[in-house]
C-alpha cells in the first residue's frame, strides 16, 4: 500500500539492489504520486498477533523505469527514495532486561 496525501492505493513493490542507494519501485493502480512528492509505502502481512509484521518506508517519489524482474505489463513505476524506514515483526518479540 502506498499513501500520498490522504490518498492510498495498493501497489506492486520491487526492491532494487542494483542501485547505488536503496530504491523501491511501486506500481500503483489508477492514481500516481507526483515526482518529489512524499509518500509512505507500507508492506505488511499477517492477521493474528504473532504473525503481524510490516515494513514502513517514508520517502520521496522519483520517476523510474520498469524493474528488470517485473512481470506486470502496462504499469507505471515510480521509485521511492527512502527517508525513514521502520519494520516490525511481532513473532520475533523477545523479553529483554530493562537496564534503566
Amino acid at each position: 500500500m502506498v499513501s500520498f496525501g490522504v490518498k492510498s492505493v495498493s501497489c506492486w513493490a520491487s526492491w532494487d539492489v542494483q542501485r547505488a542507494g536503496p530504491g523501491r519501485s511501486v506500481h500503483e493502480a489508477g492514481h500516481q504520486p507526483g515526482s518529489g512528492q512524499e509518500v509512505v509505502l507500507l508492506i505488511d502481512e499477517g492477521v493474528h498477533f504473532f504473525d503481524l509484521r510490516a515494513l514502513y518506508i517514508r520517502g520521496q517519489v522519483k520517476p523510474a523505469e520498469e524493474p528488470r524482474e517485473a512481470s506486470v505489463a502496462d504499469c507505471t513505476w515510480v521509485e521511492v527514495a527512502p527517508l525513514k524506514t521502520v519494520a516490525w515483526d511481532y513473532g520475533m518479540m523477545r523479553e529483554v532486561r530493562d537496564e534503566r
Binding site: 505488511d44 518479540m93 523479553e95
Partner: protein, 157 residues
C-alpha cells in the same frame, strides 16, 4: 459508490486488516495497518491514543481506509473508503469494540489455533499491551464513510 452497497459490505465482512491513511498536521502522509470492526454504518479501528494514526486524526479528520481480501481474485477485492474520523476514548465504546474484536480475531478456529500455538509467547503479548497502556489509553478511531470505490487492480495478484 455507497458504503451500504452489497459488494462493499462483502469486502468489509471478509477483510481482516484495514490500512488507514492519515495526515500529519502539516499534510505529510502516514499509513497504518489496524484491526477493525463495522458497527452501525461506521468503521471502528483499534489503536492507542499515543499512536500516530490517532494523533493525526485529531489534527486532521480526513482519512482513507484500504481493505483488501487477499484470497480473492475478483476485481472487487481492494476497496478504498474515504471518510472523516474521530478518536473515541469512552469506556462504553471501548468495551463494545473489544467484544467485537475478540469475536472476530480470537474466538474463531483460526484465532484459537494461533494462540494455542503461541501459548509460551502469550506473556510477551501481555507485557506488550501493558507497556502500550502505560504510554496512553486504548482508543477507537471511528470512521464515518463518505464514499467507497473499488480500485482497478485486476493486474495485482
Amino acid at each position: 459508490m455507497n458504503v451500504d452497497d452489497p459488494a462493499v459490505l462483502d469486502v468489509l465482512r471478509r477483510c481482516m486488516v484495514a490500512r488507514i491513511a492519515t495526515l500529519f498536521h502539516n499534510g505529510r502522509p502516514s499509513i497504518n495497518p489496524l484491526y477493525f470492526v463495522c458497527l452501525n454504518g461506521r468503521i471502528w479501528l483499534g489503536t492507542s491514543e499515543w499512536s500516530r494514526a490517532s494523533r493525526n486524526v485529531k489534527a486532521d479528520p480526513r482519512v482513507s481506509v484500504l481493505f483488501e481480501v487477499e484470497q480473492d481474485r475478483s476485481p472487487h477485492r481492494v476497496l478504498r473508503v474515504r471518510g472523516r474520523a474521530s478518536v473515541r476514548t469512552d469506556p462504553k465504546g471501548q468495551r463494545s469494540y473489544n467484544l467485537r474484536v475478540e469475536r472476530k480475531y480470537v474466538l474463531t478456529p483460526g484465532g484459537i489455533r494461533h494462540y494455542l500455538a503461541h501459548l509460551r509467547q502469550l506473556p510477551l503479548m501481555h507485557n506488550y499491551h501493558t507497556q502500550a497502556a502505560e504510554k496512553g489509553q486504548a482508543c477507537v478511531i471511528e470512521v464515518t464513510p463518505l464514499g467507497a470505490e473499488f480500485l482497478g487492480d485486476e493486474k495485482l495478484g
